[in-house]
C-alpha cells in the first residue's frame, strides 16, 4: 500500500489546479457556481482565483481545490507498454531468428479519412523517429506502410495478400469518437471474414491507450511516445507465444 494524494508544497495538502468554462455570464454568481461545482467533485475547499467573460453567455474559471481523495500507487497497473521492457532492434531481429526462424510480415496504415501519416511513419519508415529506426529497417521483418486515408477493407485485403502476421492501424483524429468507429469497424470486418485470429492487431495514436485498444478487440494499443522497438517487441513475443 502506498496511498498518495496531490502535493502542492506539503505532503497530502491535496492541491489541484482546475480550469473550465461554464455557459453562464461572468460575475460573482458565476464564481459561486464554479466553486460549488468544484466542491461537487469532492474537493474540500475551493478557491476560484480567476474568472473572465468569454462572451455574453460564457465564462472561464481558474480554481484551486484541496482534495482528500487518494489512490494506492502500488495497486496501479501501468496501462502502457513501456519502453523499459522493450528489446532493441538488434535484439528483436535476433529473437526472430532464434524463436521464429522466418521473416515477420507487418502491414500498417492510417485508416478512414484520417490523413495523419507522421505517426504511422514514425513506427514504420526506415528513418524512424527520435533515434529509433522504423520497422522497414528491421532485416527480419517485411514491413508495408500503406500510408493514410486507407479504407479498412483495402487494408485487410492487402494483409491477406502478403500473408501478414500483424496489422498496424494508426488513428489520430478522435473528434466525435471517429477513431472508435474506424477501429471497431476493422475488427468487425475481420470477424465477419473469420480472420480475426490470423493477425496480431495493433492500434496506435496519440489518444489511444492500451486499455481502449483491448476493449475494442485489438491485441494492444500504443499511445504517444511509442517507438518501433516497443511495437516490434510486442509482436514478436506474441508470435512466439502462439507457436
Amino acid at each position: 500500500m502506498n496511498i498518495v494524494r496531490p502535493y502542492g508544497d506539503t505532503l497530502d495538502d491535496g492541491k489541484v489546479q482546475l480550469s473550465f468554462t461554464l455557459p453562464i455570464p461572468d460575475g460573482a454568481k458565476g464564481r459561486e457556481a464554479a466553486r460549488q461545482l468544484v466542491l461537487k467533485w469532492g474537493f474540500k475547499d475551493c478557491d476560484v482565483v480567476h474568472s473572465a467573460p468569454l462572451s455574453a453567455g460564457f465564462s472561464f474559471y481558474v480554481a484551486y481545490g484541496k482534495t482528500e481523495s487518494s489512490v494506492d500507487y502500488d495497486s496501479c497497473v501501468a496501462d502502457e507498454h513501456s519502453a523499459e521492457a522493450s528489446m532493441s532492434m538488434d535484439e528483436v531481429n535476433e529473437f526472430i531468428r532464434r524463436e521464429l526462424g522466418r521473416k515477420v510480415v507487418v502491414v500498417g496504415a492510417c485508416t478512414g479519412f484520417d490523413a495523419h501519416t507522421v505517426g504511422i511513419d514514425a513506427i514504420m519508415n526506415m528513418k524512424g523517429y527520435n533515434h529509433h529506426y522504423g520497422l522497414e529497417r528491421y532485416p527480419e521483418m517485411e514491413a508495408y506502410n500503406l500510408g493514410a486515408q486507407v479504407p479498412n477493407e483495402k487494408l485487410i485485403e492487402f494483409a491477406d495478400k502478403v500473408k501478414a502476421d500483424a496489422i498496424l492501424v494508426s488513428q489520430v483524429v478522435t473528434q466525435k469518437d471517429v477513431h472508435i468507429h474506424n477501429l471497431t469497424q476493422l475488427i468487425e470486418l475481420l470477424e465477419a471474414r473469420g480472420e480475426r485470429g490470423r493477425y496480431i492487431c495493433v492500434a496506435g495514436g496519440p489518444r489511444i491507450g492500451n486499455k481502449l485498444a483491448v476493449e475494442l478487440g485489438f491485441d494492444v494499443g500504443f499511445g504517444r511516445g511509442a517507438y518501433a522497438d516497443d511495437v516490434a517487441t510486442f509482436i514478436v513475443k506474441k508470435l512466439a507465444e502462439r507457436n
Binding site: S55, A115, Q149, V178
Partner: protein, 519 residues
Amino acid sequence: MRAKLGLSQDKISEARELAARICGPVLKFVDGHTSVTVERATLRLAGADDADADGVPVPNLIVDQARDRLADGAFRLYASALARTGDAPERLNRKIAEGLRLTDLPPADEAATARKAQELVNRAESRVRANREFRAARQEEWKDRNHRPLLYLIVATGNIYEDVKQATAAAEQGADVIAVIRTTAQSLLDYVPYGPTTEGFGGTYATQENFRIMRAALDEVSERQKRYILLTNYASGLCMPEIAAMGALERLDMMLNDSMYGILFRDINMYRTFVDQKFSRMLDAWAGIIINTGEDNYLTTSDAYEKAYTVLASQFLNERFAYAAGLPARLMGLGHAFEMDPTIKDGFLYELAQAQMAREIFPEHPLKYMPPTKFMSGDIFKGLVMDTMFNFVSKATDQGIHLLGMLTEAIHTPFMMDRYLAVDNARYVMNNMASFYDEVEFREGGIVRTRAAEVLDRTLEFLRQIEATGLFDAIAEGQFADVKRPKDGGKGLEGLIKKGPRYWNPFEEHLTRTLGLGK
C-alpha cells in the same frame, strides 16, 4: 516597411524569374483543360444549386448528364434549358433535383442561350460586386479597428450552429478572422454537400448554406464590435473552384488555397489540381478574396530548420500562379509557420530571420503566419509559452494574418477557453512590444542576416533544380515534401477534361476580361 536583412535584390528577381519559367508550362496545360468541378463551379455561378433526395447536388447532376459533352462545357446545357423553359434557376434546379434530365430538352436557339448567358453573368457580377463593395465600405468605416496582424481563430465543432456560438464568442474576444475548419477529408469529396450541417469530424462541412449562416452571424458581431470580422474557408481539395464560387457569392473574405497542397498532402491528381486551382483563384481575385497558401504543411511533415527553403520556394510558385490568375499581391496571403524544434539554440532568431525575409521579399502581401503545431505536446503550459514566442515573432516582423496558436494543439480541436487564452496572449504580447519592428536592427554578419541569406541561396538552388526537371516531373520524383506523386496517379484524374473547340464558358470569359488576363 524597413529592409533590415540586406538581401540581394538580384537574387530575389532571379527567383521570381525561375518561378515564372517553372509555372509557364503548367499554365499552358491548364489553359487547354477544364474539370468536372470547374464546370460545376460555373453552373453554381449561373445559379445551379439544390440537391436531390439522395443529397446529390444539382451541379453534379447536371455535369453527370453532360458527361459525354463536357469538352464543350456544361454551362451551355443549363443556359439553354433556362432559355427554353423560361424558368428561374431555382425552379429549374428543383426540377433537376426531382429527375429532369437536361439532355432530354431540345436545345434553345443560340441567340436566346447567349442572351440568357449574358443575363446570368450580369446577375453574378452584380452580386459579387455588391459583396466586394459591402466589404470595402465596412472595412473603410471601421478601419484601424482590426488588429495588426489580423488575429485569426478557427472554429471546428463539426456543427454549424455550435460553430456560430464559438465564432461569436471568438469575435467578442477579439478575433479579426474566423476560419471554419472543414470536416476531415472533405478535400476528397468530388461534390459539395448541400444545406446546413451538424455532423463533421474535426471540422464542419463547407456548404453554401453553412457559409450563409456563419456570414450572417459574423456580420451581426461585426456591427456590435464595430470591427469587420473576416470569414475564411477552404477552396481546396477536389471541389476547390466550386467552393471559391460559393465564397464569392456568400462574401467570404479568405480562402485556403494552395497550388500543390492537394497533390502532396491529399494525393489528388496534379493535372486536375492545377486546372482547378487557376479557376478558383480567378474567382477569388474577382471577389476580392484573400487566398491563404499552405506552406506550413511542408513544415509539419519535414524539419522546419532543414526545409525552410521549401517554404520560400513554394511562396514564389504560389505567387506566380496567383498573378497568373489575376490576384494582386494584396490578396496573396502567402503561408509560412513557426515550426522549428523548440530545443534548437537560437531557434527564435532563425524564425525571426525566416519571417522577416518573407516580409521583405513579399512586401505587399498579407503574409499568413501559422503557429507551432508539430512540437506542441500535452504540456499545455509549455505550449502557451511557445505560442508567446510565436506571437512575438509575428508582430516583430509585421506579419499580415496571424493564426492564433492553441495551448491544447496536441490534444483536441480548440475549446472556447483555449481560444480566449490564445487571444489574450497575442493581444498582450503584441501591444507590449508593438514598436519592436521599427526599433530593432540586426547586426551585420549576425545570425539573422546570415540565415536569411542562406535560405534565399538554397531556395534559388532548389528552384533551378525544379526548373531543370519541370514541375510535373519534380513532383513525381518527390522533390516536394518527400512525397512522390505519379503524374497520372492520385484522385480525381477522371474528372479532368480537355477543352474542345466548341468549349463555351462565358463566366471564364468574363473573369478573364475583368481581371485583365486576356492573352
